[in-house]
Symmetry: C2
Subunit: 366 residues, 2 copies
């Protein structure tokens, strides 16, 4: 049954698709609302029986409260899945390492396209997520709010959630208390990174109460120039204000990145063409490629695409490949645990088949 | 005047051309005869005046004694050249680091195609060299012997050369004494190297009185899988026997290398395609490339060529590129000392322009 459920997840998640604002820099926007049922211990202190009870309550509420089409929600109880299957959910950005560590009593509830999902018994009892392409935190927030309101209504008022008049919504980790809101934008910042100006951008964000930090891929490697911008604290602020502020900050960083891209091409024309050219050469002709190298070279190819140097791969395809090349996603695709070597070969095959469609523009050869 | 003389050297030396035996493994054959004039100190102990005197005597003798067309010999007195020009002669394999260290009184006498050349006042007063494509040490030896005999005749008998009845011809370094002959073959051994079997081949050569050792490029880096096979001692052996023995040993190593290439493709098909594919991708699309990376990737591309995976570059072109990409050759081509960065860009341009003509065979994609 579980593989069948996995196969109902779209290969192309909603956030991968085109349509978001500032899509040349902002890959996706995510809003997450953390909630906990009153009178139950937080997941890390709950017994298996309590976890199952919590999950049951939340699932019942979601079924009743979910927007428009509750039947469109897939319910994945994590204990029904193998290790590689659970990890592939992290690769798809639908779950987290924390969430899959102990599978018992955990669940992921998601639309097939991943635009809306709920983690049950991750760090908190309930984490509602809305993920959209480009910069649209407002819409993502609306999605979460709608379900949050419906849940509250189902549970018969705010008292169902752990709530404190002074602190707001209570969460397992105090930094999430308050609105329980984490709003984030994924930014592709290759030019700032190549010009060594990422630290400046991080400081700029920090001074304004945001965090800009590199995302990590498999193990501890840093994923190809992708940085997550998010709010540092959720306490004492209004939900929409937080989302709006992140949107504004993301827009400002996007301006910086675009300006850096222009400078990169003007000031380091050969080095930039060299980096993009090598990335293309490797992705086009290598037959074994590690996740780290694939992520790094794809990032540079994406930069080449945004600079107008090549056609044939869309932003959607870059987004898709960034997930499809991941180790456990590949494993699930081939229905088994793969060795590192097997993955490297399959990843090479995947990338070559797509990158062979790229047409280099004459401007690139200048 | 000196740049004019340099421009008379063929861009394509004779050894780079096709035609030699065992050309899939043996790049070139070189014979070198070391001779010293009697009654003069060896170059490292000679005064500038003595060096000039020696040079004058040898040049006069060569003019009279040189074979067929003495007018075809170019005479390059090293003090007429700039540092980059002198070093470019080493890049062309026409001179040596030792030879150009102190230019005063040193000279290179060579045919335009480099097939025959004489170093005056390198380690010894006279070093005659014959270099031919593929495996043909016999012919190279004949060329040197012919001039050696003519020189002896001009100098009026053997007594003109420092000769000892017990030790044979005397040389600055005792290991060269005897016949004064060094015969060597340059071998392209990528498969033995990739399979980790080079050490076995070295031992095999050692046990038979030969040396098989990696050639070094710029600085101390090892050049792309090119190994020099030569005799260890020249004492107490007949010249033709030495040449013949090296020929036989080179042939035996060529058999090993071919067998290793077959195994490489059979046992490591994906890894081999990966290495060759990456090399092609980099050479085709990089815009800056160090000498080391260029040499290494060209070696792998040459392997791909020999495996029948690509067309469009000939063995001659691989030989040519191996010299044309060298730092001081590039400098002379552009008439000045180049920075490391400038060289990397010019090298990238050179390689792209040639590698863009490569056509990959469908078999390579399997």
């Amino acid at each position: 049954m579980s593989p069948l459920l996995l196969s109902r997840l779209d290969r192309t998640a909603r956030w991968m698709k085109r349509g978001g604002r500032e899509g040349d820099v902002v890959l996706s926007s995510r809003v997450r609302l953390a909630r906990n049922l009153a009178r139950y211990p937080f997941p890390h202190r709950a017994s298996p029986q309590e976890l199952l009870k919590i999950r049951e309550r939340v699932l019942t509420a979601l079924e009743a409260a979910a927007p428009s089409a509750p039947e469109s929600l897939l319910v994945l109880a994590l204990e029904d899945f193998t290790g590689v299957e659970r990890r592939s959910l992290v690769d798809r950005h639908l779950s987290s390492r924390e969430h899959i560590r102990d599978e018992m009593g955990r669940a992921l509830v998601t639309t097939a396209d991943g635009v809306f999902s709920v983690l049950i018994n991750e760090e908190d009892h309930v984490r509602l997520s809305g993920v959209l392409p480009g910069l649209q935190l407002d819409t993502a927030l609306e999605m979460c709010d709608e379900v949050d309101d419906a849940l509250e209504e189902f549970f018969d008022g705010k008292s169902a959630f752990a709530f404190d008049p002074d602190f707001g919504f209570l969460t397992a980790c105090p930094t999430n208390a308050g609105t329980g809101l984490r709003a984030s934008a994924m930014l592709h910042l290759p030019a700032l990174s190549l010009l060594g100006e990422l630290e400046d951008a991080r400081e700029w964000a920090n001074e304004r109460g945001f965090v800009l930090r590199g995302t990590t891929g498999e193990g501890s490697e840093v994923a190809g120039h992708i940085e997550q911008l998010s709010n540092q604290s959720t306490l004492g602020q209004n939900e929409s204000d937080i989302a709006l502020e992140i949107e504004n900050a993301a827009r400002a960083i996007a301006v910086r990145e675009r300006e850096a891209r222009n400078r990169l091409v003007e000031e380091m024309p050969i080095q930039t063409r060299d980096l993009v050219g090598r990335a293309y050469g490797i992705l086009r002709y290598a037959r074994r490629i590690t996740g780290e190298e694939a992520t790094q070279t794809l990032s540079l190819l994406r930069l080449g695409h945004e600079l107008g140097w090549m056609k044939g791969l869309s932003r959607q395809r870059f987004n898709e490949l960034s997930v499809w090349l991941r180790p456990d996603y590949l494993g699930v695709l081939h229905s088994r645990e793969l060795s590192r070597d097997e993955r490297a070969v399959l990843r090479g095959d995947l990338l070559r088949s797509h990158v062979s469609k790229v047409k280099l523009e004459p401007v690139f050869e200048q």
